[in-house]
Structure formats: C-alpha cells, structure tokens
C-alpha cells in the first residue's frame, strides 16, 4: 500500500549519493567552537552519529538539532556520541547552541566550505549540507547512512535502530572502559580501519 512505497522511496532516494554502509568514514578535523577542534579519529572506541544539516536557526520548534538535544539520554544509553555538522561558522554555531541549550557539539564545515560534507556525499548544490545521517562504529566504519529530503527532518528513529543493530564489537565493547573520552586509540592515523564491510548493500 501507499505507506510502504513512501518509506522505500525516501530511503533509496536518500542513499543514492551519501557514503553507504561498509565504507570507512573519512577522517576530519573541524572547529567545534571558536577555540576548539574535534577530530573524528579521536572518537574511536565508541559509536559516533554524524548529523549533517542545512543551517542553524531553523524556524520550528524541535528542529533537528533541538530534537537530538532532547533525546541525548537515548544516545548516551547506546554509549554513542552525536555530532551536528553544517557549513555555518563556529561563532554562529555557538550562538545557536547557546540559544537552544544544545549539549552536544556542532561542527563548522566552513573552510574550505563544505569539504567534509562533500567527502560524505552530503553536500547540496545550493551551498549547504544535506540532511544526511551516519552511524559510525567504534572502528570508524560507517554502519548506516540515510539522506532525508532537504525539507524533511528525519527524526531519530533510524539512528536509534541502527545503533541498536551494532554488534558488541562495533560498539567498541572491548575497549568499553577506555572509551570514556575523546582520547581514543593510537592506531587512529589511518581512517581505512577495516574493510570487512559486512553490511555492504
């Protein structure tokens, strides 16, 4: 019935461009604040959710980032870090995060503009990041990705289902104890972590 079609359509639509499951997540270092940077590889050892989105200051209640902020406990339950990324600058992110009381980092894919978004296949010709979601496992491999139509906030159900679908190893269970901070593994220089690509589609 129609409902079924819709679901399939948006999903397959979505994944046409973005990096698929099984791909090593391209490493990056971006500003998380005017004076602070985050490097993806430093987060090895626990799942990471990357949420690309078009712009700060979306004019609705519970926009995508505010929604994730509300459900941080759910992400924490899965021991996952969530990170928002858009092409807005660090000062803009700071003002936005302060206004919405966001308690997770927003990264500025600002210079060169959109470079990280492009690397993930999540850049739109209009000059902003798409609404693309990635669940990256503890070894730095993308385990799930999804591209939502620009105007549609994808919510969090797909992310949570993907996190729950990770194997204990993909969750970084072995290093569980040391996964507390962004101090991860020494072996994080090469982002081409593993090519076991179980979930290749």
């Amino acid at each position: 019935m129609a409902e079924q079609n819709d679901t399939t359509k948006s999903a397959s639509n979505g994944n046409a461009a973005v990096l698929p499951a099984g791909t090593a997540a391209p490493n990056f270092t971006l500003k998380a604040a005017p004076d602070r940077e985050i490097t993806l590889a430093d987060l090895r050892g626990k799942p990471v959710v990357l949420a690309f989105y078009p712009a700060d200051w979306s004019p609705v209640c519970g926009d995508q980032m505010a929604l994730y902020n509300e459900i941080l406990p759910e992400f924490r339950e899965q021991d996952a870090e969530i990170i928002g990324i858009s092409v807005d600058g660090a000062w803009c992110h700071k003002a936005f995060a302060d206004a919405r009381k966001l308690r997770f980092p927003l990264l500025a894919d600002f210079e060169p503009k959109g470079a990280v978004s492009r690397a993930y296949g999540a850049y739109a010709d209009s000059g902003v990041s798409q609404r693309a979601l990635f669940v990256i496992d503890a070894a730095g491999v993308i385990r799930w990705s999804y591209l939502s139509p620009m105007g549609v906030n994808p919510g969090a159900d797909g992310i949570l289902a993907a996190l729950e679908g990770l194997t204990p190893e993909q969750r970084g269970a072995k290093q569980g104890a040391s996964a507390s901070a962004a101090l991860g593994s020494k072996a994080s220089t090469s982002p081409a972590a593993s090519s076991d690509a179980g979930a290749a589609r």
């Binding site: 999903a11 926009d63 505010a66 929604l67 509300e70 799930w144 159900d157």
Partner: protein
C-alpha cells in the same frame, strides 16, 4: 537494511492506553504527538478541532505527549496535568483548556485550570508534585522517537507519518479523506 528505517511508522499503534476521541470504528486514525507549550501545536489545535468536525464519524483522533522540555520548561508538567485529568475522566477537557490558555502554564495555572473544570484540583497538584505521570509522559515521548517524530506537532495518519502541510486545513482534510478511502474496513485488525 536502511530501507526499514525510512519513513516514520507509529509504534506502538493506538490502543486502550491512548486518549482517543471519535468513533472507535472510524476508517481514519489521526495521531498527534504534541507539546502543550509549543506555539505550533497551539496553532494546530483549532485546525484539528475543525478537522474533527468536518470528518465526523470518519475520524478518530488520539493525542500523545512529546514535550520538548529543553526548549519548553512548562511542557512536561502541562502534559502530566492532562494525564492527571484523564485519571478523573476529563482528559480532553483539560487538553483543550490548556491549549486555550497556552500562556498560563505555571503549576498554579494548571491547577486553577483543573479547578475551573471542576476536577479535583488538589489531586492534580499532588500528581504534579509527586511526578505520578512523569513515567507515562516519558513513555509517550519515547514512543514518539521510535515512531519518527521529528518536531512538534507531528501527525500520523493511519500509522504513517504525515509530512504534508497540516497548517493548510484543506490539504490536511484531503489527505485524511484519501486515507479514509484507502483504508480497509477496520475492526478486525489493529
């Protein structure tokens, strides 16, 4: 794998635990995940009322709580107050009264609203204080996340997230009518 995570599917479906208005055998079920302090939900409130009127027996409507408590500090207690009113058999009266007085959502306002509805206001005040319905509201919220709620209000038509323009009443009605025509005779399943 990703195909399963596409759309936004109401989970769990409407059951006895829900607050439901309208004909139990209606071909269309509209579910709103709403926040009592959200201005968009306040905007949607009269639209839903009008839609209920227009669709009549074709529609049943259920409301679940999705308080965005980080942005709306009163939303959770407002939701709990409505749940407490439900315990006294007046969920919809309280739900309506709160949306009609969205600017007055302090605890004492909620209790006063309850009193004006001739509810046992003391019981409502106690429920807020004791957090009697905190878990219930949280349960709604979690089900919303699972269902793909992506902001407030989020509507589901016969279990499917409606991403169309609810603020345009006619197209909303059109979508509901369409669902009514497509719906198999209900009553057996669901």
């Amino acid at each position: 794998m990703s195909d399963e995570f596409g759309g936004g599917r109401l989970t769990p479906e409407v059951s006895e635990r829900d607050h439901v208005a309208g004909d139990a055998n209606a071909p269309v079920t509209l579910v709103e995940y709403g926040d009592y302090e959200c201005p968009h939900c306040g905007h949607a409130y009269p639209i839903v009322k009008s839609i209920q009127h227009r669709l009549g027996k074709k529609l049943r409507f259920a409301f679940r709580n999705f308080p965005l408590a980080e942005s709306h500090p009163h939303a959770r207690h407002a939701a709990e107050a409505a749940e407490a009113a439900a315990k006294q058999g007046k969920f919809w009266q309280m739900h309506d009264a709160i949306y009609e007085n969205q600017m007055q959502l302090e605890d004492e306002d909620l209790v006063a609203t309850a009193r004006s509805l001739r509810l046992d206001a003391q019981a409502i005040a106690r429920a807020l204080e004791d957090g009697t319905y905190t878990a219930r509201v949280r349960e709604d919220f979690r089900s919303g996340i699972r269902s793909g709620v992506n902001g407030t209000p989020t509507f589901f038509i016969n279990g499917e997230r409606y991403d169309g323009a609810w603020a345009d009443e006619d197209s909303f009605v059109h979508a509901l009518d369409h669902a009514a025509r497509q719906a198999p005779a209900r009553g057996s399943v669901r």
